[in-house]
Amino acid sequence: MTSLTRALRIASVLLTGMVTSAHYGSRAIIYEGHAGPYEIVAVIEPPMVIPAQVTVLVEIKGGVPDSVTVQPVAYGLESSNAPAPDALRREAGDNQRFRGTVWLMTLGTYRFRLTVHGDQGEGTAVIPVPAILAGKPAWGAGSSLLLLAMGIGLIAGTLMVVKAIARDGLRSPGEPVTAFDDARARRAGREGMLVWAGISGVIAVWWVQLSAGYDARIFQPYQWNVSLASESGTRELRILLDDPRWRRPSARLLSDNGHPLHLFLIRSPALDVFAHLHPVELDSATYRVSLPPLPPGTYRVFGDLVHADGIPETLVDTLTLDNPIASPWVPVSEDDSWWTALDDTATVLRWAEPRGTLSAGSAQLLSFSLRDSTGGVLPHEPLMGMDGHAVVVREDLSVFVHLHPMGTVSMAAMEELALQDGVQAPHDMRHAGTAVTPVSFPWVFPSGGRYRVWGQTRSAGTIVTGAADFVAEEVP
């Protein structure tokens, strides 16, 4: 087990429930890359409510660190608009691991400036972290009941005190209780209950108003409509994007590896057909892409995009193809590709066998390499600026993640935020040349079950795709 997997094992305590956001079904932000001269792995779990605390875990893989600080800077602002960096605490027993928390107070995208100080000087990585209200707040059953009991106790106590004072308070010492006093006490009790009813009503109305204000700030994903259109003999998809609340700062989408929208089609339930397409703009709300000759069936469609404010999102839809597409395929982009389980090519993308059982919630390193028919390793070339791409889905399609060798961070958001910081985005993008080393992806399975992983890279100018199945065990 590498230090990477050891470090990411900490993510097991961080993963919370499934929330629809970027990457469907999994929220942890995993970054493997550089902070200046240091190689680091960082895991950040975004919170469910804002304002709130965010836990940051960092492992320094190369170099001897003295200290690690993290400073969250809100979108569009400068470092001087952020509080002083927080120092992370070194983990007991491991000099290379650091952990700490930072407070995020407003909605939007933050850039977390992770700075490592150590034997090789100082280095900073800029990691985008979206801060959104992910859903309705959970009222803990136990604490809510306790709160209710305290409230009832307080109301009852007040009425008792009020009645007692009404009965006794105006009598001189030594005076006996009269019927008049008792009547006054009863009247005070009744009036007290009316007052409490009024106060409770006011607080209830106020609470409802505050709750509605909270609900209004909950992240509302884009809605979209994916439909078939036949034009000049080729099958095309029309994708209509809709912002249900017109609250985005701008309709602009950030270009992720050169494309504003990444579309994935996966035939269900067999998961035996996979397409990775890059629609182009038809107008400001509509995108089009020409479909490869996919066999008929029901397809789950996933769309990855990144908003102008750095918040990534994955949209989900279903598409039924009735007739096979016979006409030749003219892809709109040279990065478009598709794969079926029946594909047979000389070059094979082979995923490495996992060592031991894969546990959900703990760190994994999935890697593939290109092999020829004799099993020899073949060189691969960059695909959209990366050594490779991977897509992980759970067999019931409740989880979908588009992975890069750097992890789950949004590349487009990272580049945009690095620009705001005035630094070069520290990432491992490659634009040319070949390599023979396996392409690895840091990953944490969010839950037990069967998963299918597709890997893609380029070889001799063509995109090569290969799939493998993994079984993750749920850890009790």
Partner: protein, 400 residues
């Protein structure tokens, strides 16, 4: 308590004196020490509360155990222990005496009414603290003064604790005439702490930038006449002035001392630079209407034509406040006030430079809107003053 207004307005105000003469009360437990402890607890709580506000303006991040929070817990604990001890002493003494009950009986115990109210307020503080923690976990940290848990903490907690000790002082003045002067002063001091806590609750409506607009005058007219009039200790001639003086002195002390301490924000985004603790605003000039209210009440009896008196008090309050606070607000908005005395250039870290406050401008409202609101404030001040008169009348009749 609900019938207090009715009896205050009715002619039978002197019901206390129409009953049987009071028997001699032997060795009732001393109430002076509990009142002193109560005033100390109230002061500790209010100073800590102002410190906590400054903490939120300057540093932002806080935990359960920050020094201002500890001050509030300590003050509450002191209040609760004082009241509980008093109830236990009264219960023990009452059991052995020929008269079965000397004090207010509840659940087998007996004690002065104020002690029971303090215990209620302390319980509300505990519940409010739990509620606040729950609210932060569910809805996230709040960045406002007015949230439901804060209302429970300030209004049902702190204010009730302070009212309880004030009621204790009111009763003590009757039972220990030897110490009545000291008790009157303590009662007025507690009235000052009442003004402090309700001024905190109304902070966001009484910012300097709102001082020429509707909400400032409506909120001021609602809160302060009641506070200045309602908590007069019996026989005290300068009660409102004393209470306003306590409020003013405590706020000035906090205003001038806190900026000596360095601080830097631990939460973002940081829109205004902060290098030292940012104190709550310069106090309102309540001392001016307070003096006028005292002069008016020295010359009139609350039981005669209370509606007319209420209207006069409300009008006096509004006129004096308009005369002093309105031009003073203009001064506070000017550059001349940006010095360590008036401290109008020390902004909280999360105040964007585009706001009215940061630009030193009054929040814009059409002139007619503010004028109508100020007119309505005269009515609101009358109602507030009547409420104060009713409370004062009721407290005069408190015997236990």
């Amino acid at each position: 308590m609900g019938n207090a207004l009715a009896t205050a307005i009715s002619p039978q105000e002197q019901t206390g004196q129409q009953r049987a003469p009071e028997p001699v009360v032997r060795s009732a437990p001393g109430l002076v020490l509990p009142v002193v402890l109560g005033a100390s607890a109230a002061t500790l709580i209010q100073v800590s509360l102002l410190w906590d506000m400054s903490w939120h303006f300057s540093i932002g991040r806080d935990t359960f155990w920050t020094p201002p929070h500890v001050g509030i817990y300590a003050g509450t604990l002191l209040a609760a222990v004082t009241a509980a001890g008093l109830v236990l002493r009264c219960s023990r003494d009452g059991g052995t005496r020929s008269q079965p009950s000397r004090w207010v009986e509840l659940l087998g115990f007996q004690g002065p009414s104020g002690a029971w109210v303090v215990l209620l307020g302390s319980a509300a503080m505990a519940a409010g603290g739990f509620f606040d923690d729950w609210w932060h976990r569910v809805y996230g940290l709040d960045v406002t003064v007015l949230s439901p848990p804060h209302v429970v903490l300030f209004l049902f907690g702190m204010a009730v604790v302070q009212i309880g000790f004030w009621m204790l002082a009111a009763v003590a003045i009757g039972t220990t005439p030897r110490h009545s002067t000291a008790l009157r002063r303590l009662g007025n001091w507690l009235a000052g702490t009442m003004i402090l806590v309700l001024a905190v609750l109304g902070t966001e409506q009484t910012f300097q930038t709102y001082m020429h607009g509707a909400r400032f005058w409506l909120v001021t007219a609602l809160l302060f006449p009641f506070l200045l009039i309602g908590f007069r200790a019996a026989g005290s001639r300068w009660a409102a002035t004393s209470a306003a003086a306590v409020y003013t002195i405590v706020r000035l002390a906090v205003l001038w001392i806190l900026p000596f301490f360095p601080a830097s924000p631990e939460l973002g985004p940081v829109y205004s630079p902060v290098t030292h603790m940012v104190p709550p605003d310069f106090p309102l000039l309540l001392i001016a209407p307070a003096i006028a209210i005292d002069l008016l009440l020295q010359r009139s009896h609350p039981s005669r034509a209370p509606w007319k008196l209420g209207f006069q008090l409300g009008a006096v309050f509004m006129i004096l406040m308009l005369i002093v606070q309105w031009p003073f607000a203009s001064f506070l908005m000017s550059d001349a006030s940006r010095n360590p005395i008036f401290v109008t250039d020390n902004f909280r870290y999360n105040l964007p430079s585009s706001t009215y406050t940061a630009r030193g401008e009054f929040f814009y409202e059409p002139a007619w809107y503010a004028a109508v609101a100020i007119g309505a404030s005269f009515l609101v001040a009358t109602v507030s003053a009547l409420g104060g008169l009713a409370l004062g009348q009721w407290a005069r009749k408190l015997r236990r």
